[in-house]
């Protein structure tokens, strides 16, 4: 009797397997139900350009494998953060572009290694994937800061920089009922009584925090006076600003576009050198008398010891992806700039940023 009763358990497991199988099968291209096909095309055009351009380039663009036969199986991009964050989103959009536009002859997949501003993922990439061209890692300027604050034993110098992809400037906003109409007014209040201005942004030591630190320095406020409130993601910080819980908020430009458009948040300044096309009425920090320019970027690095041949193939693939119509559309929807840079140029940027960020972090007292 007992043994018979294991049957339901087995039945359940097979039900589970079948359901996953079904999920897999329904999306395989070899199931041409007319309705689905029409629907799928609709999605593709919606995501891409809305014109026939994307599928046309897709047809002939697949890169041939290298002489060494790379790639012959799926390529994995590690997003060194929880699902849902900026790196994860960028990694998934990149994977989608590489796969759907037909540039990569093999599928490109994303997996997450969360924790510690990406340094856990970085350590894993360096220690476990040396020489393996099938595992790449999404990263960004924020990681340069995390490595310093976390005193990570592994640094980006050990990776193989492949390409810098997107950039986003920062924006400073206040709640819609805020007394501050301009950046000058906010700065004046900040100088008069620094701690009364609670700045909401992402985690300590990240880009948002660094920007506030740079502003404080530029307007002559001591680091001890900076009242920075860290939130664990754009959503929580947005809620604090919308509810008028804090005096000001700092974030990437793209994150709060809708709240700015609907008038729920008032933009005071952007961190670019010139005004942004998307927000022509918002002055730059420099215009407002704060001499700070800050660019936050995201890019892709590979593990250590990649062969020159594999590295070249990957850089070619990333170049093709960023030139595709689909990628241009993604940049436009998210308000990202194209700051494409590859190999050695990218490595130089990394070294430069490392020096700048390390100086700022020392000033604001996060590292010794």
């Amino acid at each position: 009797m007992r043994r018979v009763c294991t049957l339901p358990l087995m039945a359940w497991i097979s039900l589970l397997v079948t359901s996953i199988l079904l999920a897999g099968c329904t999306t395989m291209p070899a199931a041409p139900v007319p309705v689905e096909e029409a629907a799928a095309t609709e999605v593709a055009t919606e995501v891409a350009t809305g014109e026939g351009a994307a599928p046309a380039t897709a047809a002939g663009a697949a890169l041939a494998p290298t002489a060494g036969g790379f790639p012959s199986k799926a390529i994995q991009i590690m997003a060194p953060a929880n699902p849902g964050g900026g790196w994860d989103t960028t990694a998934r959009l990149l994977a989608q572009t590489l796969t759907e536009s037909g540039i990569s002859p093999v599928p490109v997949e994303v997996f997450n290694v969360p924790g510690a501003g990406g340094t856990i993922g970085l350590a894993q990439l360096v220690s476990q994937n040396a020489g393996d061209p099938y595992t790449l890692m999404m990263m960004g300027r924020v990681m340069v800061g995390s490595i310093l604050t976390n005193q990570s034993p592994v640094t980006l110098a050990e990776t193989t920089p492949l390409a810098r992809l997107t950039a986003e400037y920062e924006i400073i906003v206040v709640p819609k009922d805020s007394p501050y109409q301009t950046m000058e007014e906010l700065v004046a209040a900040f100088q008069a009584n620094p701690k009364s201005i609670a700045w909401a942004g992402g985690s300590a030591g990240g880009t948002d925090h660094i920007l506030v630190g740079q502003i404080a320095k530029a307007v002559g406020v001591a680091p001890e006076g900076v009242n920075y409130i860290a939130y664990s993601g754009g959503g929580e910080a947005a809620a604090a600003i919308l509810g008028g819980q804090v005096a000001a908020g700092v974030s990437g430009v793209g994150e709060w576009t809708d709240f700015i458009a609907s008038g729920e948040m008032r933009p005071l300044a952007v961190s670019s050198a010139d005004r942004l096309e998307a927000l022509p009425d918002v002055p730059t920090l420099t215009e407002s008398g704060v001499d700070v320019v800050l660019l936050n970027w995201r890019g892709v690095v590979g593990p250590p010891n990649l062969s020159e041949e594999d590295k070249a193939w990957l850089i070619n693939a990333l170049t093709a992806a960023t030139e595709s119509a689909q990628w241009q559309e993604i940049l436009a929807t998210n308000g990202w700039d194209n700051v494409f840079q590859t190999g050695d140029d990218f490595a130089a940027t990394l070294a430069e940023d490392n020096a700048t960020i390390s100086a700022v972090l020392k000033e604001i007292g996060l590292i010794e």
Binding site: I13, L16, V17, I20, L21, A23, G24, Q76, E109, F111, P194, K195, A204, P223, E224, G225, V226, N227, Y228, I364, G365, L366
Partner: protein, 150 residues
């Protein structure tokens, strides 16, 4: 002295260790009304107090059916610990299916009566292969393939 009083002393030690850990936290120089050490200190002190409290009021003697009065099979616990530790150690080396088969089979033997060697072996192989296929091939979770490719 009753066992629970020793446990209470151990708890005090845990609290002292926790406070020592809290001492290692660097206070940053930026403005923070309450720093990163505040809560850890409070927790550490609380743990010590809870230990003292338990030492003073250990409660009634254990009832015969409470977990405190069960005599334990330490050999099985040790074996179980060993099997799981070995599993983690060889997980990447030998691949998911093989390692998991050993875990399922070994675990069942330790917990069970060591009678159904064959039956458990078959279940272990089938179950670990099913899990590997479902999660690695269909859901695309990276599970270590091992030298044999599965």
């Amino acid at each position: 002295m009753r066992a629970i009083r020793w446990v209470a002393l151990a708890i005090v030690l845990v609290g002292v260790f926790y406070l020592w850990g809290a001492l290692q936290i660097r206070e940053s120089t930026t403005y923070a009304a309450v720093g990163p050490r505040f809560m850890p200190n409070a927790i550490g002190i609380g743990i010590i107090l809870s230990g003292i409290w338990l030492f003073a009021f250990p409660g009634a003697s254990p009832a015969p059916d409470s977990p405190l009065s069960v005599s334990l099979d330490w050999l099985s616990i040790g074996l179980m610990l060993g099997v799981v530790a070995a599993y983690i150690a060889i997980f990447r080396m030998v691949g998911y299916v093989l390692a998991t088969t050993l875990l399922l089979w070994g675990g069942a033997q330790i917990l069970g009566e060591r009678r159904h060697l064959m039956r458990d072996g078959v279940i272990a192989v089938v179950l670990s292969a099913t899990i590997y296929y479902a999660f690695s091939q269909l859901l695309r979770i990276n599970l270590p393939p091992g030298p044999l490719g599965f």
